[in-house]
Symmetry: none
Subunit: 294 residues, 5 copies
């Protein structure tokens, strides 16, 4: 598995990390159909705690089975599969070594670094809600668990979703807020940052001056700003697809992520809430987009 | 003790577990009159913290004695006996090895994995209240204790009882809420999930669409949905009998659990609040129902 | 699994042990065709370190496969299976919960209590060589590991084989030496003691007076003395079959063990070095002997 | 990375292992040109402690550089690279994730499981010298470190090289002794066993009877016996190439390993003591042999 | 690196500290163009959590890259560079050993002493807000982390910024309040204290009498009072530049700090929010001021 210059360059940005952690990042970057391109597609099935099973899977009942998602990620040639403890455990042996896994521990409460090690996960994933009242508690938990993970060669993924406090609904997707969210994840030491695609709205009064005169009219430009806010591209940034939507919108998002210099998509409901054949076709097209073939 | 194909199949779903944990699950699955069928009846005497002694036992005074329950579970040929620390300790020597025990540690505060080992328990049991304000604290405690238990070969049972927060009284038993509760227990890594039998009510607005058009008219169909929500049947799900009620209702519940593909009953007050003879007769009939003989 | 009075009586002798350890002893005493009789037959495959594979298995090549022994012990209805770490690991999942296992850690070097827990073993087994130069080192290791095992509900089996130092070859099997060896194991806190069947030879000058006038002419009487030396029968004592020999000798040994009040046989090479059919027939006959049916 | 049936079958033999350990075994089995075949070639550069640098590298000076060996293993498409702590550290970042590494800790003294984790190693490797005076000390160290490794998903490789004590020089390579050495490694819980190719000599008097009448005339038959002694093929067994020798002898060894059912070669001096071009050509031919193409 | 009498004198004030901590203080005091003078200029890039990326860097986009700040601090010959975890990690390897770093852990939540050690930081930096409701929680966290840091030879920097509670806006910069803030940091065991330059306003009624009759008309005199309040000059005190402002104001501040006996400036936005050339020119002039050359 000789690495491409692109992958070598990405890995070189994680300069304080030990070889164990880099090897796990490399596994994700070299996996599947996008292996070696520096682009990623991650399958997350992590909304179960928040949405429950029926809202998640009723539309595509085979997806109630945890094996369904492992198999989908493998068959589609994705980069990694992210899910909470029980979901990972339920297929960890059958699919051991077949695809990098990310143990989604949510607000650091539903899994541990030891779990990640025994289950062979390449990373742990946290969710933080910048703006919410207990964001500092979340951050403190992440600090400890992330430091432990780094010491044993496990990478850290942070889902950074602004929410709560004085934030307006529109503000959750605002450009300044999304860039801020990505920046916080980077400051916290995340290896991979996951944020939502931002709109052109600017939420914070204090920030408006900084955005004045900028051209934020296209999604690609907004992606570029989020990437810039993630240590000028020194950190891997993937964007979430959000709720299930039309396929064309999903493809356009991917093209914008690509054109803005983002590293890829983390796309869950838009795939597993479609019939498997449709999901595979969509993911194949996304791969081609990220490979600049469409 | 050669295992039936049914038991082998159930054990194969716990693919990330070590042989010690599987052996303890096997002990429960092979115990008593339902041994080998993949069905379970568990006797829980765990309402003492919440209800106190008189509400629990005054109606059948011999049940004040912890030995009464061990003996009842053994004589009825049940699968396991679940109780808090003091109750387990009070009979652990006399009945050592005669029936698998589950140390009910409630919200992770009244017993430890070390207690389970010294007392020869096959599992630890937690209660969580999804919807309540402190559910995340509960979950965090479970995470640590469950991981420790798994490492030393002790299984984890989670009682998942929605309660509190904005949940209506009817909502506690709603189908969507019950399926959600089972799903959360599965996500947390439970080996055995215990939930209440759900009604046809749908509580969450966001979930209503997912349930539209489904036929939830019979209890068996609702049980099937809860089983589906527990990793498509990859986890053992048992249903609680709730407050003491008429024997016919208890039998009908069991038939519905059986017909819906549930793994059995966890039935406490409906047995130990009846005279012992009546309880034994009821349990014998439940065994026959789960064996498809009635 | 209601216990027989015999089993209850045996368990009552282990009066300082916690319920976890008793449950594991009970599992062995209630397992298989001799379950409940207070008699045991244990299959040990533990000579690999000392004899190597060909001397052990060339005569019956299917026995090179670790699964062979698990299956033999289960099919013959034996009480437990004892083997070193690698042998136990190689079948621990397939046979999890089907037969109690004893992790043979030899001179405390090839396995740990944590291994026993994760592999679901009921006991750990040590070998000591009373009379050898380093017996005190062995004892010291046993002391620590046995104490740890008892604290987590794992039983301790001690193989006590006099050897080395000033002991003559005949002395290794001498009555006084064998009784001494069993007594040392009992003093060390063993739950199950394994010694060789003794001859009528008395080795130690200092001991001869004590044996004068006794009638040690029959093997059953010598067995009775070893049992007496094991805390007057308060500890389970099983006798080893030694090298493979004629079937009739094996049966006679079993009758003598039974008649002398021993608890059973630990019989390895005499079974797995025979073709499986012969071994099963022999074990079936041994079961009948211990059940007083032959 | 979907696995071949061969790899799935091999992994299924490690039934007591957690998914983390299986993932690391899978990485080795799926790596390089033999990925998926169930055959392995491992590059060990582990004789430095014993032979010193000049005896090791003077014949091919570029090999003084630790990067040389990483690159050789990658360019030749090998399965894994094994070396002591300092050698691994010296290239761990540059080659992170490019090839599975085995941290050779020798007699458990020159590296730790924590080292393996921070360096991203897939396995730790121990050397034992069965027959030597301090083999039990070695074994005890392995026990502890191997148990720790297994708990965090790191695989264990044991180099088992009979030596010392009363063993004759010819005996070190004797068939009975080699089979014995492999068996001991298996008993100790090794995932991958490394032994030397045995001669037809039988060293131990006690073992001669077991080998009588067998046909040990070809190396392939002797390999088959060693594989049989490694839990009837339930453990991966690789054979060492020994001192540098003629290329034809190396190829014949590989054919015999293949025909006898061995899993492959661990070949160090025969490659890095040749000029790089010759070494690559030799390794390419070995790959073809193991793929049954020559 | 022979120390000047000035540096020796400063270090002598930290008399309870171990040599490891003193060596780290010495590294800061001997670094860069002010090395040996007892004066310091520290570059902090620590407003990211509070202000987000665009407010921080949009005015000078190269500053989005963490390497920019390391390089600026080195090229300007500054004494140390302070930033949160992710910022430090992103350049820790490239710039290892080139400039002392201070890991800004904010309210003790985003980094640990272990992080500081693995990243080679000389100090950890905390922010406290005297007057705010949760100042005691902050102090408690600092207590533990600072003690741990001191035990392993890491220095402690405390940013002490009065804010919240009943404090008026003018009061945040009041002389009595600023002196109080510095004193609290000293009481908490800080090695380096960072406060804002105070105005002549006196906020607290209880304190007014103490300040009556004093001459607080010049900034230098107010600086002198803050230094006096920091254990009569036994602790290093640096003053923050606050929001970006005119260059002349920055220079005047430095002259006042110098003349009042302060140890230097901690100056972030006033440098990295200017073009690099301007920033370097400004910092060169500040160095000359602290060297008494302007």
């Amino acid at each position: 598995m000789s690495f491409t210059p692109t992958v070598k360059s990405i890995l070189s940005h994680y300069e304080s990390d030990n070889p164990g952690t880099k090897a796990n990042l490399a596994r994700i970057l070299m996996q599947g159909k996008l292996g070696g391109t520096g682009k990623l597609i991650i399958l997350p099935v992590d909304q179960g705690f928040e949405h429950g099973p029926a809202r998640s899977f009723a539309i595509n009942p085979p997806a109630y089975d945890p094996h369904y998602h492992y198999q989908l990620a493998i068959d589609a040639g994705l980069s990694a599969y992210a899910a909470p403890l029980g979901m990972i455990e339920a297929g960890a042996d059958t699919f051991a070594g077949q695809i990098p896994t990310i143990l989604a521990v949510n607000q650091a409460v539903t899994g541990s670094v030891d779990d990640a090690l025994r289950l062979g996960c390449s990373a742990i994933g946290f969710t933080i809600y910048p703006g919410s009242d207990d964001v500092f508690d979340m951050i403190e938990e992440i600090k400890e668990m992330s430091a432990e993970a780094k010491s044993v060669g496990i990478a850290t993924v942070i889902w950074s979703y602004p929410r709560g406090g004085t934030l307006s609904k529109a503000g959750e997707l605002a450009l300044d807020v999304g860039a801020y969210a990505a920046h916080i994840a980077a400051l916290l030491g995340a290896h991979i940052i996951k944020v939502k695609l931002p709109t052109a709205h600017i939420e914070q009064k204090d920030a408006q001056k900084a955005y004045e005169g900028g051209d934020w009219s296209t999604q690609a430009k907004r992606v570029a700003h989020v990437v810039q806010s993630s240590f000028a591209g020194r950190r891997i940034v993937v964007f979430s697809g959000g709720a299930a939507k039309g396929a064309d919108a999903v493809y356009q998002d991917a093209r914008d992520i690509r054109d803005g210099g983002g590293n890829g998509s983390i796309i869950g409901r838009n795939t597993f809430q479609r019939p498997r054949d449709e999901a595979l076709a969509m993911l194949a097209k996304l791969v081609r987009i990220y490979k600049n073939e469409e």
